[in-house]
Amino acid sequence: MLELKNISYSIDNKLILDDISLKIEDHFVAVTGPNGSGKSTLAKVIAGIIDPTEGSIFLNGEDITSLSITERANKGISYAFQQPVRFKGLTVKDLMALAAGKTTKIAEIRNMLKEVGLEPNDYLYRSLDGSLSGGELKRIEIAMIFARSSNLSVFDEPEAGIDLWSFQKLIHVFEKMVRKNSGNVVIISHQERILNIADKIIYIKNGRVEKYDTKEKILPDLLNSVENISQNGGVV
């Protein structure tokens, strides 16, 4: 269980997160809101990439506010980047092995790649560089999160920068993840299909949590928000 207590974050005198307090206990929680509302910053604060200006973060009751990215990772927090990072020379196998731990067998890595719809023989020994498409990189990023068997997995807009075809495949991966029920999943998204598979939805606006409830209670309001649809081209 993740708990945020009075989290604020400001930079250059601009308040990005404004006194956020919430508990994430459900298996699959989606975070949504307009562009610039602070969703990605919130994800980075949870992963330890950004230190909050104020407030505390607790994982399963333990205060992890002062822990580094590495220490949080070793506590079981995983973070999938909105734009997957590319590495010249490091192969998919190298990164999957790092994610899974040194004792992982190659057969297990193959299975994880299959889980995200990638044929292992086509990808294992490829460098994680510009030769891979956005959709392929996203799925490899997700496979790395699978490999870590995390207590808490945070995905920052997995749908960003990929085509419709790749998005369809991505949805299947997340649906599979929901069924597997392994740890808490926090996913930042604008996409209705992703929001639809969440247990609960957090709606953030101007750095504040405006709504946090079940998808049944939140989603219809969001879909009816004509004003936001026209402004953002999505469901919010």
Binding site: I49, V85, F87, T91, D94, L98
Partner: protein
């Protein structure tokens, strides 16, 4: 060979016993072991230091090991190794040099390797350079490689300077005949106040020949590197050279690519990039549980792989 020599032999050629096939192991300026096979003959030169490696035509699935180890401080050698590879062959050549210097005088290996690759032959050439030892004497390495590719010949060079070489001038020149292909993958790491100069020149003379040079380097501390490549497109041909460097600390890297087209049908490309390790790469690996320094080492070892 003593234990130190055995250790550096393993570093440069991954040998902990005599290899299968043809070999010539040189230790402290002398041949420590030599073996020829039915198809590969190793002949010592009589007019200067070095050997001729003569590979019969149609020789396939065979290898030659010619590593060099130096553990004597102050030893400086100039060695000429000439490779005559017969037509239609397919062989692997493993070279490399390791210097252990615990003394006060400089030790140096200057190796000149000349390849005459026969028609339609394929050669894979692997060369590793490595230095160690805590003496004040420098470890110097100046490899010069000259490649002559006949019609339809292919050569793949994988060269690396793993660590511990204080000063190096790595020079490679090649001329390519019709339908021949040269591929070079170089990786170099310099630390401390080491200096590395790497120079490539390829004359793409034959119709439809191609050359691809990829150099990846890491410069740390106060070390300096200079990469030069020159592709001369003299016919219908394609040439590509790429220099990628990671620069760290107070290091200095200079890349000077040159492309010369003497034919309207020559297609030549150069890419060069020098930069520090991207912060997001380190953060990504930290989210997988690595510390910052572990992440940095992983990125460097992957880059140089």
């Amino acid at each position: 060979m003593d234990e130190i020599q055995k250790k550096i032999l393993y570093q440069v050629a991954e040998l902990d016993s005599l290899p299968v096939g043809a070999y010539n192991i040189r230790a402290n300026g002398k041949s420590a072991a030599r073996n020829s096979t039915a198809n590969i003959e190793i002949i010592p030169k009589t007019d200067k230091s070095g050997i001729d490696i003569v590979i019969k035509e149609n020789t396939t699935n065979e290898s030659v090991h010619i590593p060099v180890v130096i553990s004597e401080t102050g030893l400086k050698e100039l060695v000429y190794n000439d490779f005559f590879i017969g037509d239609n062959s397919d062989v692997v050549i493993i070279a490399g040099c390791g210097i252990h210097n615990c003394g006060g005088q400089d030790s140096a290996h200057n190796g000149i390797h000349t390849f005459f690759v026969g028609k339609n032959s394929k050669v894979r050439y692997i060369e590793k350079h490595y230095g160690e030892g805590d003496g004040r004497g420098k470890r110097l390495m100046n490899p010069r490689t000259v490649v002559h590719l006949s019609e339809g010949a292919q050569m793949k060079m994988e060269t690396s300077q793993i660590a511990g070489i204080d000063d190096t001038l790595r020079s490679t020149t090649a001329d390519l005949a019709e339908n021949s292909k040269l591929e070079i993958n170089e990786s170099v790491m310099t630390t401390g106040d080491q200096n590395a100069v790497s120079e490539f020149t390829a004359d793409l003379n034959g119709e439809n020949c191609s050359c691809n040079i990829i150099s990846r380097t890491v410069a740390r501390d106060k070390s300096t590197q200079h990469f030069t490549s020159r592709l001369n497109g003299n016919n219908v041909c394609s040439g590509h050279s790429e220099c990628d460097s990671i620069i760290m600390d107070q290091a200095c890297v200079l890349a000077t690519p040159e492309l010369l087209a003497n034919s309207t049908e020559a297609s030549l490309i150069h890419e060069a990039a020098i930069g520090k390790i991207a912060g997001e790469q380190i953060i990504k690996l930290m989210t997988l549980g690595l510390t910052e320094s572990e992440a940095e080492e992983q990125i460097i070892s992957g880059f140089l792989k």
